[in-house]
Symmetry: C2
Subunit: 339 residues, 2 copies
């Protein structure tokens, strides 16, 4: 495990708790010290160790999970190549296209002995961060994207994908197959844009003490993720800018429709005589109401699917996920949303 923040630390604990031997490393000496203290206190059946170098953590591993912010991923990959690491690599970065590009540039390079790569992203953020917040149960029930590509894939093989999917479903996560591009568009909308909305709302209210005192449930929830560390949110949103901008534009276009309903189509807040902002706003609100009251999607019946790239990607596009991979890697246990 390279990187022992909230996600890396939680994955370290979750893997150790399910019987895997895990070595962890973090570039920050203070984080390593915190993790070493925690390791000494871990239950006997779920012990891990903290190393002082990437080499010590990775050299004997079958799988290296890279759990560092996007700006640091390239350097970690370079170091894995430099030490001659010859196993599989996965990651937990919140953008998948840029990571895939970083891997593609190195995977089959002249000095690389890397065996393969499966891009991943557990949808399990919290507004807290750091190893101290790590929790072995963080991933239970959470959606965890593992990336496949639609056609012949120069990066991820189906066999590697199924191995990582078997590991991750073993932690209780729901594995969602998607291409890197599909993932980046979806998380731009449901994760990155919400962070921008929260931050814009909190920053705008900051100038008005009366407003801050009147803020209640809708303000509390609508701004919660603005408390996330700005450096992490910036890496997440800025690293996915190409997908975040159209998603933000779509939400702002929807808000502009609300504004039009409120103003009766005029530029100011004063609706013309005869216009009824309340009646005009109701159908606009009905769409969001329907979407939210139907969320999260209820699981439909469990089914067996062939472990084929096209079938898996079709499942993910329809909002489905897998909960297990057969030992012979020929089928997966899948769930589609009920409709």
């Amino acid at each position: 495990m390279i990187g022992l923040g909230l996600i890396g630390g939680s994955l370290l604990r979750a893997l150790a708790a399910s019987g895997h031997q895990v070595l962890g490393y973090d570039a920050d000496p203070a984080t390593r010290a915190t993790a070493r203290t925690a390791a000494a206190r871990a239950p006997a059946g779920a012990r891990w160790q903290v190393t002082s170098t990437v080499r010590d953590a990775a050299s004997g591993a079958e799988l290296v999970a890279v759990a560092v912010p996007l700006p640091a991923v390239g350097d970690v990959l370079d170091e894995l190549v430099a030490i001659g690491y010859s196993g599989l690599v996965t990651d937990v970065t919140s953008v998948k296209g840029p990571v895939r590009d970083l891997v593609a540039a190195r995977l089959h390079g002249p000095h690389s002995r890397l065996a393969g790569f499966v891009g991943g992203h557990p949808m399990a953020g919290r507004e807290t961060s750091g190893f101290a917040a790590a929790d072995a149960e963080l991933f239970r029930g959470c959606a965890w994207v593992l990336c496949l590509d639609p056609a012949d894939d120069p990066v991820t093989t189906l066999a590697d994908w199924l191995d990582v999917a078997a590991l991750v479903t073993g932690l209780g996560a729901r594995v969602v197959p998607a291409t890197a591009a599909e993932h980046d568009q979806a998380v731009a909308l449901v994760s990155h844009v919400p962070h921008l909305l929260a931050s814009a709302l909190a920053a705008t209210a900051a100038a008005d003490p009366l407003a801050l005192t009147l803020g209640a449930g809708s303000f509390r929830d609508g701004t919660r993720v603005a408390a996330s560390r700005p450096a992490l949110t910036a890496a997440m949103c800025g690293g996915n800018a190409a997908a975040v901008v159209p998603a933000l534009d779509a939400v702002m276009a929807s808000l502009t429709e609300a504004r039009t309903a409120l103003t009766g189509g005029t530029a100011t807040g004063t609706a013309p005589a005869g216009a009824d902002p309340i009646a005009a706003l109701r159908p606009w609100l009905a769409a969001g109401h329907a979407a939210r009251t139907e969320w999260p999607p209820a699981p439909g019946p469990t089914l067996e699917l062939p472990a084929r790239q096209d079938a898996l990607l079709r499942l993910g596009r329809g909002g489905g996920w897998i909960t297990a991979v057969a030992a012979d890697r020929r089928t997966v246990t899948a769930v589609r949303p009920a409709r």
Copy 2:
């Protein structure tokens, strides 16, 4: 109590629990039936009754609280005038300027015997609604705006304001003095715009099953209030359109700054060579982070203030509130936010 939804029903229960005699009415027969069943089960010391007409509820009362959606407020006021009600009126509507206009048009009319009016708004919404969700403890610790006007006030006298403030602080609420205009601007930003953001986000995600499956904490919290009944949210936001539009514009201007940071100033999502969206986004995110981590404002020391209109409004503008009114109505117990 006229109107037995979440707020009216909770206020009915809270007042009864603190020893007041309360009669409730709702225009909806099914709501009256639900409330009557609950009344029969209420503890002996906290009994209320449900009447079949506004007249039966109001005619012997010292105070009538109007807890109906904005579009129904005018009709209720007309009925109170028509039955010759001669006590004080308060309300709990989420916009205060429009209600004040409705009252001003009736208060000193030729047939009115109304004694006075104090506009109020408890900041205690929930995404649930209706009498079934009512809770006598809903207002404990919540901010509750009671409106004063800056100059000589044709609607609310200081004496009436202090009487209602004494009642409401007795329920455990923090009473925030503000003019109707100050209230409407503040709640536009911290309550109405968050509802619009939540609805826009939920509606935009609705088209993408993969996105809905990947939605986690930031989507859940960022869309929570989109589950509120569209008719109530439309009345709230549409009834305050003149204040909501500039608040929405301010948040959209902030989002446009984020967009500029993401695109390096270009129109598309692709930043020009050399631009660094991650670095550009960080200072923008820092403002919202600071605002959210300092929220809610911590209470400073308790102080005594003279019960004067100007001192009360200054307190509210600075983010302060009152927790008690002296029995002689000459001072209030006040709290300013710590800084």
